[in-house]
Amino acid sequence: MLDSVLVANRGEIARRVIRTARRTGIRAVAVYADADADLPYVREADEAIRIGPVPPAPPAPRHPDPQPARSYLDAEAIIDAARKTGAAAIHPGYGFLAENADFARHVIAAGLTWVGPDPDAIEQMGDKIRARNLMERAGVPVSPGSREPVADVAAALAEADRIGYPVMVKAAAGGGGIGMGVAADEAGLRSAFETARSRAERFFGSPAILIERFVERARHVEVQILGLADGRVLALGERDCSVQRRHQKVAEETPSPGVSAGLRERMLAAAIQAGQAVAYRGAGTVECLVDVDAGSFVFLEMNTRLQVEHPVTELVTGIDLVEQQFLIAAGEPPSFDPAAVRPSGHALELRIYAEDPVRFLPGPGTITEWAEPAGPGLRVDAGYQAGNTVTPFFDPLLAKLCVYGADREQALDRARDAVAAFRIAGPKTNLLFHADLLASPEFSTGDYDTSLVSKLRPA
């Protein structure tokens, strides 16, 4: 077993990884930028190392500052912190350097254990075009789309003619929904292409653009996979992530109310094939689009790391995924019997963001009140507490309110009560949005798709 781990992340995920490390007897090292020095994860770690300054001071320089590059994206500072503290392994969490193959190689070359898949698997899946091509060869269904990067508007128009409108335009190296756009016709494609292109360069450092067929009534459903140290790949059920704003997830649930037993069986089998195609080790997620009308699915992308919404899978399987990550990284078998995994009950995750509940615009601020709900079936993975300041420098996730019930109805009832009981004052929050979501007929019946949020909040 690993004896120590440095968590190269912040907020709720750093805290969650540290929690399992400490529970399983692994010494946990946190790293932090000055802006995060007071967050709970820093205090709960066995040791904490500062890796970067507060991003721009108010009488600021005139050039835009790529702030996090100086902290959680600073590979050298993170590896130095591991050396200084004698940490034997690095867990990257999600975001930041989690899907950076060069960083993973750097960690391994420094003699540390990388808690994640082989860097080659990260690289193969990091480029969405390469990943699509690889999956197609492995027999996993993909939607009609680009087999190579789309270089310019003319090429985009030609591709869209071949694929057929409407199309989705996105950055091949992208993530988090940034720069993604749907185009119904040529004019729309011209503008979506330009947007995707500029965002791709700015946020992901690569201009490569991918175009694929847009599915109108789609659910976004993903499969949790786990590549064991002995080479076997397991599928631990699906998560429905169709509640999205700006192509970013807001609420997730398992099992998916829109997936039949037959479809589930095919999706899980395809996810295992996808993992095997890259000899996947550790926790990963195969994201798919389910065509509600056709009852079919296509591969979207594979996330080669722990997913934000992993707790819903933990709640219905009783498996601590972070613990399995540690065991697999150490070359050990999992803590559970793979033949005996029987998900039961229903779980939801509601992402509590620092944003207004109507237009979803960011609303950072100092937290004057923070009272988490408690009760049967509730789990709150929070990055903050009262007295902390939510800064504009990082993503808006404050906490994940996770709810378990024996069935979907009980989970929804508990979630409604928990949302009403959660008190946060200071920053803006989307708690009222979650109350509306849980009250909506679409979500209550489970009959919804990725257009749900825009129906609940028409522009």
Binding site: P56, P58, A60, P61, R62, H63, P64, D65, G176, I178, R246, A354, E355, L361, P362, G363, P364, G365, T391, P392, F393, F394, D395, P396
Partner: protein, 70 residues
């Protein structure tokens, strides 16, 4: 004369309009960035940018003056 103010704490990522520019309703004046989101600040009516109070890289607080449209 219209004052355009920041709706939230943010960094000024891009200043799109310059003092002296004529802008129409809905034109982008500056682009703010907060919590990994770009937020365009738009002119709410036609006019001339008589004063641009922010520069790229500045941090604005909620309610801070961004520009004056005359």
């Amino acid at each position: 004369m219209a004052e355009v103010r920041a709706e939230m704490v943010a960094n000024v990522w891009k200043v799109v309009a310059a003092e002296g520019d004529h802008v129409d309703d809905g034109d982008t004046l500056v682009i703010l960035e907060s919590m990994k989101m770009e937020i365009p600040v738009l002119a709410e009516g036609p006019g001339v940018v008589t004063k641009m109070h922010v520069a790229e890289g500045d941090v604005v607080q909620e309610g801070d003056l961004i520009a004056i449209i005359g």
